[in-house]
């Protein structure tokens, strides 16, 4: 909740409230106020990201290092400027070097981290006992997990036709498991979107409340 301790805060709340209503006006139909809010948003976001990026990364991590005499970072600055050169069509090709560098790092990370965290660990977690558990619920859940993962993977294996008593049945079970997962995901997506709206309505509610509090002193 934003604390209203000054006039600029109150003005700010009303500006924020007005801009929020401009965005909501789109629900009736597209209009000048919505377009205004949309364009302000794009301009401010781009500016915001650049300012934070400058003070949080370029200033300490680049300028700070260069000032301390670490001239290796001049290479980072050069690569960064080469990226910005993409704006000039004649020399846009130089932007490939820093892009290639970033893609290479990302690809290298993905090979190790994905294998470690998302393949090996997940497979390990699927190797659970299917009998001999302390209670029936755990056994049932383990069966759901193991069968669900196996049949789900079999559904995604398209090199073999999904036919026959074994593969066909497994793929059919697999799609049912996936549908349950997607249904859960949809339910949670609805929850998320509604929460965002609740947040905005609470904000508008607070604009009124805080303004009244300010004028009451």
């Amino acid at each position: 909740m934003t604390e209203t301790s000054s006039f600029s805060q109150v003005v700010g709340l009303w500006v924020g409230g007005f801009l929020t209503l401009c965005v909501f006006s789109f629900l009736y139909k597209d209009n000048v106020f919505y377009k205004l809010a949309e364009h302000i948003f794009v301009g401010v976001s781009a500016g915001y990201w650049m300012c934070i990026g400058f003070w949080q990364v370029l200033y300490p991590n680049l300028w700070g290092k260069l000032q301390a005499g670490d001239w290796r970072y001049a290479l980072a600055a050069i690569l960064g400027l080469m990226l910005v050169a993409r704006l000039v069509p004649r020399i846009a090709w130089v932007g490939r070097w820093p892009l290639a560098f970033m893609v290479g790092i990302f690809a290298g990370f993905n090979i190790v981290y994905t294998m470690q965290a998302q393949v090996l660990k997940q497979v390990e977690a699927t190797l659970v006992p299917l009998w001999g558990n302390p209670d029936v619920a755990t056994t049932l859940l383990n069966w759901i997990l193991v069968l669900g993962v196996l049949t789900g993977l079999m559904y995604f294996y398209f090199s073999v036709e999904h036919k026959g008593p074994v593969f066909g049945t497994a793929a059919r079970i697999g799609i049912q498991v996936l549908m349950i997962a997607f249904g859960a995901a949809f339910g949670y997506t609805v929850m998320a979107r509604v929460s965002l709206l609740i947040g905005r309505v609470m904000y508008l509610q607070d604009v009124w409340i805080k303004t009244l509090e300010f004028f009451r002193g």
């Binding site: 934070i52 990026g53 300490p60 981290y113 660990k121 949670y188 509604v194 929460s195």
Partner: protein
């Protein structure tokens, strides 16, 4: 009439949804909120912290998802400070750095905690996973200053902080990518640090495999998760306030789906009858 209902102008639907949100906020239902097992996992992880423990909190969310993630962060800060833990905040999203500042200031003032001694906000660095990997054995690889530009070595709390292994617990408040996945890959899996997370409801279903595998010890899912945690910490806030509206809107949307399906089945039956008559 059925056809008119099926072709309903969507603005009527928007109006009903808006009323369904506003009404419970004006006239609250104050329904009880029962914490779920994943939320209890987060609570237990923070509750188990010894006095003076070091906690890293990563604020990986933006304004669009602040309503879900910020209450989680506030509740966790209150809980952590109550346990006399020290907090180091980082952010993988630019907006997260400023939200971390807002949260730390608010809870720090409430619970009389001092910046530099009890908490530090190192701010934002770009690169997601690359940042987490870069921290490795020394935060100073990536962070030479905090959000306000003060040198890291001037902050007393940072004398205890080296790399990921310095932390007793890592918390991630995340809205997407970069966020939970990156923390699981680097912090939990490579460095073996206990990790708890609060994620938006959209990303929550994808987090369950990590909860199941033990890579994440506890999980707060969306506004509901935030409300559950607020209740457990004993400080109901905006998330708890929002759950009444959440309840009503969910039932309204479920109602829309039921009506739409009834219309669909009625229409399908009508079309079948017409086909049979034409034969």
């Amino acid at each position: 009439m059925l056809r008119r209902l099926a072709d309903l102008d969507r603005r009527w639907i928007f109006l009903v949804v808006a009323l369904a949100v506003v009404a419970p906020l004006v006239w609250p239902l104050r329904l009880p909120i029962e914490p779920s097992a994943p939320t209890r996992g987060v609570y237990a992880a923070v509750e188990a912290l010894p006095p003076g423990a070091l906690v890293c909190m990563s604020f990986d969310y933006g304004p669009g998802t602040k309503v879900e993630c910020h209450p989680m962060a506030l509740a966790a800060l209150r809980h952590a400070f109550r346990k006399e833990a020290k907090v180091v905040a980082i952010a993988l999203w630019p907006e997260g750095a400023l939200f971390a500042r807002e949260a730390l200031r608010q809870v720090g003032a409430e619970m009389d905690r001092a910046e530099g001694l009890d908490y530090v906000n190192l701010g934002y660095k770009s690169g997601g996973e690359v940042v987490l990997r870069g921290i490795a054995d020394d935060f100073r690889n990536i962070y030479s200053t905090d959000l306000a530009g003060r040198r890291v070595d001037e902050l007393p709390l940072m004398s205890r902080v080296r790399g990921w292994k310095s932390f007793d617990l890592v918390c991630d408040w995340s809205m997407g990518n970069p966020g939970l996945l990156q923390h699981v890959r680097v912090v939990a899996t490579q460095y073996g640090r206990p990790l708890v997370a609060g994620v938006t409801a959209v990303t929550a279903p994808e987090a369950y495999p990590f909860l199941n595998s033990g890579q994440v010890q506890g999980l707060l899912s969306g506004l509901r998760g935030a409300a559950e945690y607020e209740v457990m910490v004993g400080h109901p806030g905006t998330a708890t306030r929002g759950m009444d509206a959440q309840s009503v809107v969910h039932f309204v949307i479920a109602g829309f789906i039921v009506v739409a399906n009834l219309l669909y089945f009625a229409d399908r039956r009508e079309r079948r009858r017409r086909q049979e008559r034409n034969r």
